[in-house]
Symmetry: C2
DNA sequence: TCCTTTAACGACCGATCGGTCCAGATATTG
DNA sequence: CAATATCTGGACCGATCGGTCGTTAAAGGA
């Protein structure tokens, strides 16, 4: 997974994968089929990790505002410094392959849908608890937050300071909560 | 430019470029050097187009709030339907190459910086005119808006409805203006 | 211990990659 | 019209791509 994450699909050659898996060509093909299947498997694992984290941060049994804070803070940390420059496998794959690969498109569309749904759910619970500012619609706000964090990952591929980003994330959430 | 835009750098092979430029291999290399140089030229043109548009929409002589509205609306339109699925050359390049190509990194970092500066400037002018909501910091809000629009381009690579996106963009700006 | 079965390995395959270069067409000039 | 300069096209190059397959080593059973 790490190799695809760091280099992207097309830029990852078989030798890279062999080095990473410590397998020989034959063994790798026996175990995973072809490069595309192996990539799909890596993508699935990356997405699983992400939704697991999402489910923890935005757990319905926890306070939704705290959850959203943790969600944003997690993204800010993950996009700072070297981690940030590594980028995000989902976004890189979306831009590189989603337009021409139905398997990939399906996975990524579903991931974004899940994330938006989780965030919207947390916002709805916050609204029910009277913690949202007046006139905030959970569905709209969810899309805004998801776009914001994904945009974060993009612009932090090329440096940019982490401090102001953290402030921006705080400022954004503060616009929504009471 | 269009070929790189649609397919990305690695996925674009020489034959694709020959078809697009209606040049032969020899002529193309005589005119542009190598594939990398040609790509840089295409990227520069794409970025020039974008900052030109930015300078029009956020022209200091025009009303800053109207400008920001136009800026957001432009991105929403450009990310809807088929246009959206084509994606954004800057983002795709950032994810694919920025980490390993200094020339590319420089260009993209500078583009994001320019965009954020233009947006921040418009927000500052809006603030000076008393049109910003209380407690809104132009620098933070600018980063939020830039991340939002770039995130938009990412998630709209995999469909997603344009209507709710438009509503989200409106809702976001409404959180900042008075 | 010897035979059978399974799994790992890397040499090898055709295709295609980005890049070079020379032959021939075209335009220009005397 | 002829000679020269310019440019175009595509055959060709080594390298590397993703993928296959025969060989060899290892493991299990009688």
């Amino acid at each position: 997974m790490g190799v695809f994450w760091s280099r992207g699909y097309h830029a990852t050659a078989l030798p890279d994968l062999l080095r990473a898996t410590k397998l020989s060509r034959g063994s790798l093909y026996a175990a995973f089929g072809d490069k595309h299947s192996l990539f799909l498997r890596a993508l699935d694992r990356y997405i699983d990790d992400a939704v697991t984290r999402l489910n923890i941060e935005l757990d319905p049994r926890k306070d939704p505002v705290d959850g959203l804070r943790a969600y944003l803070a997690g993204y800010v940390n993950r996009t700072s410094g070297a981690h940030g420059r590594r980028g995000c496998l989902v976004i890189a794959t979306a831009m590189e392959l989603a337009g021409r690969d139905a398997d990939v498109n399906r996975r990524i569309a579903s991931f974004f849908k899940v994330m938006e749904a989780r965030v919207a759910d947390a916002l709805s619970r916050a609204k029910a608890a009277g913690k949202l500012a007046d006139g905030v619609d959970p569905a709209n706000a969810a899309r805004i937050l998801v776009c914001f964090v994904e945009g974060l990952r993009v612009i932090s591929k090329t440096a940019s300071s982490g401090a102001i980003t953290h402030a921006a994330a705080d400022a954004l959430l503060d616009r929504f909560i009471r």
